[in-house]
């Protein structure tokens, strides 16, 4: 096992698939999408191998590959896998194929499959890279396929949305790039582990100077906050998610938004513990804004995809809320490390869980759209549950998972986050509860309007139940929701030692 560069294979396989598709000129649409699916599934297979080789008890990166790349810049090709990366790689492995199947009709196009694979490859690169150089390369590279996927296969406002999405995110990244240039100038290193060391003992901040460290911190923060997104830098999100084709919306919300949160955990927090601690009161307010206003803004939407986009903002904000609460409490005497452990474990769990439920819900909207000739308004349907009971059942599980019903996956993550945040900052937890209420309100309103009542709108005429490929894309997600709701240990086992060690080293430099 040790001889095989497993992590490189994980990253390269989707890119290889994309390249192969580019070369397969003249192949039939059937072949094209089967090839795409096969390469998309490679992540799941390789992730399973990585899972088998992974030792949860070790908290340092495993399966490490490190080679000198550019000597002059001290850049290394450095890949590694810890519990956090593994969870996200597994998520990518599940969502990639499912997203492809959700856009199965579109996937007949060779280009579509290739771009989606490229997107998947970029995400994997981000989750596995331990050197800023190629981390940033993948981070920015992901925008290219996303741009074309939205622009070419999106809805009526796709061009504008794609343009806004790319410009918005690039503006954020530009600040991050400058910030890392400054870091490199000060330390001569771009390696996350080395930088984290320097961050932990305060020498990074010392090298940058007080104001310099603050500015650099802000630059990195800006880049990550746009991607995650952190309220109020989320305004690109509703139109992007709404205009993107189903499979792409699924991938964006499930995986790409996690890239932002991952950056917070992997880069911002270890490198700038003091700066994050100092600005945590403000950041907590912003995260609360995302939790509460996100939920209530969703209540106001009539476009179902925009509604789900706001729901994503709300759910991702819980992750950030937990991290900021931990950062805020760091260094406080009598800090409860149990609470911090719970908050951090909840954050990682929530990333995975939100990926599942948000992807499933976007998939369901895609099914509705496909039946209604592209319509997806809150008032365009009625009584779908009568017309398509199996579809309603699957969508119902996803919906209740999203609103945090115990017994399904969403609850465990949210419970741990609330348990942690309450222990660190009870007032914040109490206000964040409003988000839970708001989520229930808009999701059940959606359910009531679309699925209940007499059959109406697009559901009055023939409205077939889900079958075939639709079922294949929804069913795995639903099964995972139930399995992880009952046995969260399956995932927590992978991250518990890691978050325990994080929570055990909560000190300011």
């Amino acid at each position: 096992m040790s001889g095989l560069p497993l992590l490189s294979a994980l990253v390269i396989a989707p890119w290889a698939g994309a390249a192969l598709l580019a070369l397969l000129r003249g192949a039939s649409p059937r072949t094209c999408r089967l090839v795409a699916l096969a390469f998309s599934l490679s992540t799941l297979v390789l992730a399973a191998l990585a899972l088998a080789a992974f030792d949860p008890a070790r908290t340092t990166p495993q399966l490490v590959e490190r080679h000198v790349w550019i000597t002059a810049l001290n850049v290394h090709y450095h890949l590694g896998l810890d519990g956090l990366s593994l969870v996200l790689v597994l998520l990518t492995g599940v969502i990639g194929p499912v997203a492809l199947m959700a856009s199965w009709r579109t996937a007949r196009s060779r280009l579509f499959g290739a771009l989606l694979l490229a997107l998947q490859g970029s995400a994997l690169g981000v989750f596995l890279a331990l050197d800023f150089f190629h981390w940033f390369l993948f981070w920015e590279l992901s925008l290219v396929p996303a741009f074309f996927l939205i622009k070419l296969w999106g809805g009526t406002g796709a061009t504008r949305a794609a343009y806004q999405f790319v410009v918005y995110t690039i503006s954020g990244s530009a600040f991050m790039l400058v910030a890392f240039a400054a870091i490199f100038a000060a330390t001569g290193s771009l390696d996350f582990q080395q930088l984290a060391q320097l961050g932990a003992d305060g020498s990074l901040a010392a090298k940058l100077g007080v104001d310099g460290a603050r500015l650099v911190f802000l630059g990195v923060l800006l880049g990550l906050a746009v991607k995650a997104p952190l309220w109020p830098l989320h305004t690109w999100l509703p139109s992007t998610y709404a205009e993107a084709p189903t499979g792409v919306s699924m991938f964006l919300t499930a995986v790409m938004s996690k890239m932002g949160v991952y950056g917070f955990l992997r880069i911002l927090w270890p490198l700038f513990p003091q700066q994050l601690h100092d600005s945590a009161p403000w950041l907590l307010l912003l995260a609360l804004g995302g939790v509460v206003l996100g939920a209530w803004a969703a209540l106001r939407q009539t476009d179902l995809k925009r509604m789900l986009a706001y729901s994503s903002l709300n759910h991702v904000s819980y992750c950030l809320l937990a991290l900021f609460a931990v950062a805020h409490a760091t260094g406080r005497p009598g800090l409860s490390s149990e609470a911090a452990t719970a908050a951090l474990a909840g954050t990682i769990l929530q990333m995975f869980n939100h990926g599942l439920s948000a992807a499933a819900l976007f998939c369901c909207i895609g099914v509705l759209e496909s039946r209604a000739g592209g319509k997806r308004g809150l008032h365009d349907f009625g009584g779908v549950r009568t017309a398509a009971p199996i579809f309603a059942g699957l969508c119902g599980v996803a919906l209740f998972s999203s609103l945090g019903l115990p017994g399904l996956n969403g609850f465990v993550g949210e419970f741990l986050i609330f348990r942690g945040v309450f222990g660190l900052n009870p007032g914040v937890a109490a206000v964040a509860c409003l988000g839970l209420l708001g989520t229930a309100m808009f999701l059940l309103t959606f359910w009531q309007r679309v699925f209940h009542g007499p059959r109406g709108g697009a559901a009055t005429v023939a409205f077939g139940d889900v079958r075939g490929i639709e079922l294949a894309s929804l069913a795995p997600l639903v099964v995972l929701m139930i399995a992880l709701g009952v046995a969260p240990q399956l995932l927590l086992r992978l991250i518990n030692p890691l978050v325990t060690s994080w929570a055990g080293h909560l000190v300011l430099p």
Binding site: V167, P232, H234, T235, P238, V292, L293, G294, W296, A297, L299, R300, Q301, S336, S337, E338, A339, T341, A342, A345, G383, R385, T386, P389, F400, L405, P406, G407, F411, V412, L416, F418, R419, F422, G423, P426, A429, A430, C433, L436, L437, A440, M441, L444, T445, W447, Q448, F451, H452, G453, P454, R455, A487, P488, Q489, L492, R493, N496, V499, T500
Partner: protein, 653 residues
Amino acid sequence: MSLSVQLLWLIPALPLLAAVVGTLAPRGEFKLSASTAIAALTLSFLLSCGALITALADPSAHLTSNFTWFDLGHGAVRLGWLLDPLTALMCVMVTFVGLLIFVFSTGYMRDDANAKQFFCFLSLFAAAMLGLIIANSLLLLFVCWELVGLASYLLIGFWFHKPEAAAAAKKAFITTRIGDLGLLLGLLWLYDSTGTLLLYDEGQGVLDPVVLAGLGGSTAIGLLIFCGAVGKSGQFPLHVWLPDAMEGPTPVSALIHAATMVAAGVFLMARVFPLLTPDALIVIAFTGAITALLGALIACAQSDLKRILAFSTVSQLGYMMLAIGVGSWVAAIFHLLTHAFFKALLFLGAGSVIHAAHHEQDIRALGGLRGPMKTTFVTFAIGMMALAGVPFLFSGFWSKEAVLHAAHGWGFSQIPFYAGLVAVVLTAFYMTRLVAEVFFGHPRGNGAAHAHENTAAMTLPLGLLAACTILLGAIGTPWWPWLQRTLDPEFLSEPGGAGLMATSIVLVALGLGAGWALYGRKLRQKSAAADPLAVIAPRAFAFLAARMKFDKLYAATFGRLSDTLAACADALDRHVWDGVVRLLARLGRFTGLVNREADEEGLNAGFDATSESIRATAKAYSRAHTGDAHGYLLMIAFGFVVLVFAVLVGGGR
């Protein structure tokens, strides 16, 4: 046959299995789904009896069986099962009443196209409710608590094609969720202070004396937990969802919204009773008293058969909460158990009437059913007398006496006691009105005119429930308080109370008499005729009939607040943040424009000027290239001098 605590999980697991089987069964497999559900619940009932035998062997023991759910930090989050008399009695009650309601449903739902699904949801509900009862962890209890809420949501909205049913289901879920968030915060607080959510854990659980003694801020924790009970048990001010929940099929109303689920809140408070401080108990007692009175008042002016029963449930739940508040949780559980039987009886009786009368449930349009529906009438009358508190023969009398007795003995205030007494009169009054309108006189509508008695599947459960309604009183009389002593081995039956008993008997007679005087002596002739009470006090009657306008009040306050917040959140995005982004974009364009202008006017112009000057220089150079060697040498020499000078000045480095 006794059941050990390690196997207690079988009790909820069997109905859960039935629910899974029902879900996977092909559409229209009504018989398979129903028989699996009934078989599973029967087994659960037998197991519950076994558990009761185990629990009665040592009533003061709390048998537990804990296990790890998942690892967290250096420890783990653990769940567990708990077996004590409270658990066992609740299990027996829920499985027995549930079983009868399942059997009744085979008759009631026979013709429904989705009957298969119905039994699935019923089984899911039973599993969640039983899980809630046997939980030895507040976390597990919360999980089951929410699943019960889900089952309730699915069953209220069972006829989801009706917009009212869909709306009622949503209202129930969201209203109870408001309370649940309080409960969640209470649990988080408790978890944070004690590091565990297990109830009993070999001295380390939250209800074990050592931990209890070390717990600070417990009033707030108790009150937050109480929020959950307020939502689930339909207490004021979150009682508004319960009457709307009557949109579900009637067996559901009987099982969930009368007998079992709504009692979960009372059960929870009884379970965590040691956590409650005197201050918290005061709030609970007054909430219960207000709810008891409010429910009874509103019930007097309703005309929908099921809604009258729903408000009576609200009122009775208020009694139970009142008993908790005044410190007698055993009286609360006694009333909970008897109420479960007679309210299930009343709801199934109502279901029998509604089924026979072709889904007519307005009492003004019914009437005269005493003749055609003898069994239903007799059993319903027994339930009615138990609810009204008719003395001695009926269980409701004894449990209500226990509650009133406890309230009378409360040191803090007598107001809840008096509220309870007033509610006694009102209860007797509105139940008399109900029976007089539905069963006496002559039919006033098509449905009632063609009504006939139902099949045995429906009448048999009625008979059994009626028998229990009568017999159950015997286990908790002041002379032989078996139930109280079993639940709480330290229970002391206080002497005295004959005077109190006499008072309440007089009050019941007063209520029955007033009801009969208004509705029985002169029976309603036409469905459109005005209600006698409306003639006497039209404005008060209209106010009560509109359910004291709580729904309007909430819509005007919380509803509007939520809408405003939503509008603000949306506007903030569309105008403020998006405005900022647009401004930045415009700024970007402006910079671009400035750049272009600068390029054209500044840089490009500069380029032109530079090239022009270069050309001029070149011309000048070409003029300098004279071909005169002397001139060149002169220039070289001059340059050399300048260089040497520069080197000297620069220090030769």
